[in-house]
């Protein structure tokens, strides 16, 4: 089983044989394809001939749209970028189309040799148990180290500890590390300076970046020669562990280290590229067909997202929640959506897509994108069914879920190699159509629709839900399942007075609560808020009806009062706030908690990085002072606001329960 591959011009394959890893080195060449006008290609070939180092052959090849003549050029992967620059220069940047360039060399090698990482005989097979170590170093003021944690056990920094680190690194294949504040990089450098013979270490600096209007921070990465280094801050590792990383590596054909740091979108793109290359389909290097020209009316009509049905705030009894499973990927697969199959005009063998979109789809051949995503969808369905059996199946399911979610989003990304805006528009349009059809069918089956958002519907009534689900599935060609049956569901009001779309909680019949959007699910509130909400839900779990909630109102308010009066007796850790300052110290114009936290980081002699998560306790909320020593007490009146805010939805809940189940708009004035 191949567990890793590294290199550019020479690829080293790590083959797991029993318990040993055998490393073999393979020469790697990169083949790129250039197409263009015959006259221009002749000119380019003369340039290549005169260069003396560029090898090429004339060839006809195909991309997803059809065949084209061109030149197949073979170069070393390390020379590829330079060659493409020369081609672009010769063609004034517009005369030639370049294919199969700028692809990860390992991925290209794996596709050429038709190899797979972590290739198992069956989906049920366990992952290989590679020797792994888990390491983090705790930092102190002015770059000192306060301790090391190796495989869960902590110790002080000492000669013995450093011996342990060196021996663990030597004996491990996988190194799972936490490089918070660059502590581990500095520690490894410190060990090297102290004379320890460690394998060659490369460490990068962390960096801040903006994504969807938010500032994030990416920790500095560490690479150790001959090891697989997986950062704990990697999104896929933190969500789905090593099993998720291995699964992503298997699907994307990127090595595990790369798979752990790329976004799920890049992983999906890599999976598509692997499939294209193994089928002999060209992959464009520069995308220029992401969107067709369209009128402004057409743009306004098609440029829309998911369907939302506004709920009224209130408590509802006997509610069913039904969800389309993997709605958008299923639409791609079942409606054969792909850049080459979606058309703007009718024609032979084309069928009109349902929904408020102007598009048609070819039905005579299978689209590239739909056929690439289909196995992913099938695999997810299997892991979703068996995930309760084993934690590793659950982790694989989470990794696949992320890939499927982004497989849709990537269709609308202009640089996605197999993306197209029209595809994105058609998918959301079919999604809106499917949800509105589901609503109509539910009403037809005797239900009242309470709330709907993108791929989920909440309906109330005593109709036959199984029958409704079957009808929806047959009519929309998208799988829909019963997600929950609630004794009662509470939708709190939003600031505007309308029902909140993404905040609700409800007691499921026989299986606890489903909670969304309230403090219990937020990471930016102190533990006291979450603790109180957990206690409140515990009381509510005994209430099966709305009158019973009304009767429990006394006990519910008592919990809030107890938290208020006993705030001073709680553990200090319960007051820790997890914040993410988005600027540097000098960029803050007003004094606030974020600024105080950033200043404290600077005072400790550490790097301040916008987007980095910091854990603080507020000592004085009015003057924005944060606790800097263990003796500092929290500002209890500041934290009372959090208690009140966490209680707010429950306050609404009991006032509704006492009055009546649903509140009309009039009640908000």
């Amino acid at each position: 089983m191949i567990v890793n591959a590294v290199g550019t011009d020479r690829i080293t394959l790590w083959n797991l044989n029993g318990k040993n890893i055998e490393k073999t080195v393979h020469r790697n060449n990169s083949e790129i394809f250039v197409s263009g006008d015959k006259y221009d290609l002749d000119f380019l070939s003369r340039q290549f001939d005169s260069s003396g180092w560029i090898r090429y052959s004339w060839l006809e090849s195909r991309d997803i749209y059809g065949n084209m003549p061109g030149m197949n050029v073979t170069v070393k992967p390390s020379q590829e970028r330079e060659l493409v620059r020369i081609i672009q220069y010769c063609g004034y940047g517009r005369k030639f189309s370049v294919f199969n360039a700028f692809i990860d060399p390992v991925l290209k090698f794996m596709a050429k040799e038709k190899l797979r990482f972590f290739d198992k005989k069956s989906l049920y097979d366990p992952d290989p148990q590679l020797p792994a170590m888990d390491i983090s170093v705790n930092g102190q003021k002015y770059g000192n180290f306060s301790g090391i944690t190796i495989n869960g056990s902590s110790e002080r920094v000492s000669l013995n500890a450093m011996e342990n680190v060196a021996s663990e690194i030597e004996n491990s294949t996988v190194i799972i590390y936490d490089n918070h504040n660059g502590n581990l990089s500095r520690f490894l450098r410190y060990m090297e300076n102290a004379g320890y013979a460690l394998p060659k270490i490369y460490s990068g600096r962390g960096g801040s970046y903006e994504s969807y209007g938010q500032i994030h921070y990416s920790e500095g990465r560490i690479r150790i020669n001959g090891k697989m280094c997986i950062s704990k801050s990697s999104m896929i590792y933190s969500e789905s562990g090593l099993e998720g990383v291995y699964e992503l590596s298997k699907i994307s054909s990127l090595n595990p280290e790369t798979a752990s740091i790329v976004t799920p979108g890049t992983a999906v793109s890599s999976m598509e590229i692997y499939r294209a290359l193994s089928l002999g389909i060209l992959v464009t290097a520069f995308k220029d067909d992401h969107e067709r020209e369209k009128s402004i009316e057409s743009l306004f009509n098609t440029d829309r997202g998911g369907f939302v049905l506004q709920p009224d705030p209130g408590i509802y009894e006997n509610i069913y929640e039904i969800d389309f499973s993997s709605m958008y990927p299923t639409i791609i697969v079942n409606y054969n959506l792909s850049p080459e199959t979606i058309k703007a005009s009718p024609g032979k063998n084309r069928i009109k897509l349902p929904g408020d979109n102007p598009y048609y789809v070819e039905r005579n051949w299978r689209g590239f994108l739909s056929s690439a995503i289909e196995p992913l969808l099938k695999e997810r369905l299997i892991y979703k069914t068996i995930k309760a059996m084993d934690r590793s199946y659950e982790n694989r399911d989470i990794a696949l879920k992320w890939l499927l979610v982004t497989s849709f989003g990537y269709t609308g990304y202009k640089n996605a190699r197999f993306g197209r805006i029209e595809l994105h528009e058609a998918i959301t349009s079919i999604g809106r159509w499917a949800l509105s059809r589901a609503m109509r069918i539910c009403e037809d089956e005797g239900f009242k629709v309470i709330h709907g958002i993108v791929d989920s519907l909440w309906v109330k009534g005593n109709g036959n839900i199984t029958h409704a689900i079957t009808r929806i599935r047959n009519e929309t060609m998208i799988n829909i399942v019963l997600d929950a049956h609630y004794e009662w569901l509470f939708v709190p009001p939003s600031k505007s007075g309308l029902g909140a779309l993404n905040r609700y909680f409800g007691l499921k019949k026989n299986s606890g609560f489903k909670v969304r959007g309230i403090d219990l699910r937020r990471s930016d509130v102190p533990e006291i808020s979450r603790k109180m909400q957990r206690e409140l839900l515990e009381i509510l779990s005994q209430c099966k009806t709305i009158p019973e909630i009304g009767e429990a109102s006394g006990r519910i308010t008592q919990v809030r009062d107890r938290y208020m009066s006993k705030l001073r007796l709680m553990e200090k850790d319960d007051f820790t706030l997890n914040i993410k300052p988005s600027r540097r110290l000098e960029d803050y114009r007003v004094e606030n908690i974020q600024k105080a936290a950033i200043r404290s980081v600077r005072n400790m002699g550490l790097d301040e990085n916008p987007g980095q998560r910091l854990e603080i306790i507020v000592k004085d909320g009015k003057r924005n002072i944060i606790a800097e020593t263990g003796e500092d007490n929290p500002d209890y009146s500041f934290y009372e606001k959090y208690i009140n805010r966490a209680f707010e939805p429950f306050q609404y809940l009991i006032s509704y329960a006492k009055k009546r189940e649903r509140v009309s708009l009039e009640d908000w004035f």
Binding site: R304, L309, Q310, H424, L498, F669
Partner: protein, 77 residues
């Protein structure tokens, strides 16, 4: 999805803030009525966006739906 155009929800929010900008010149009791209208206008604006209707019409139809609903829900109707 709001990639190059504003979303239907943003369009309604924009219309509402334009309407509300006149509240300083209104009596307090009328401001409350106006806010009630705004809420009713927002209520069905999302659903109505699936039709090819202008934001202003969507707002008015949403208000009308809520008024009719309220009239029909009154006791004795």
């Amino acid at each position: 999805m709001g990639r190059s155009t504003i979303t239907s929800r943003q369009a309604v929010e924009e219309l509402c803030s334009r309407i509300l900008s006149s509240r300083d010149a209104m009596r307090n009791e009328d401001v409350q009525r106006l806010e009630r209208i705004i809420l009713m206008g927002k209520k069905h604006a999302g659903e109505l966006s699936s039709g090819d209707i202008d934001t202003e019409y969507r707002f008015i139809i949403s208000v009308l739906i809520e008024i009719i609903k309220r009239i029909s829900e009154e006791p004795g109707k």
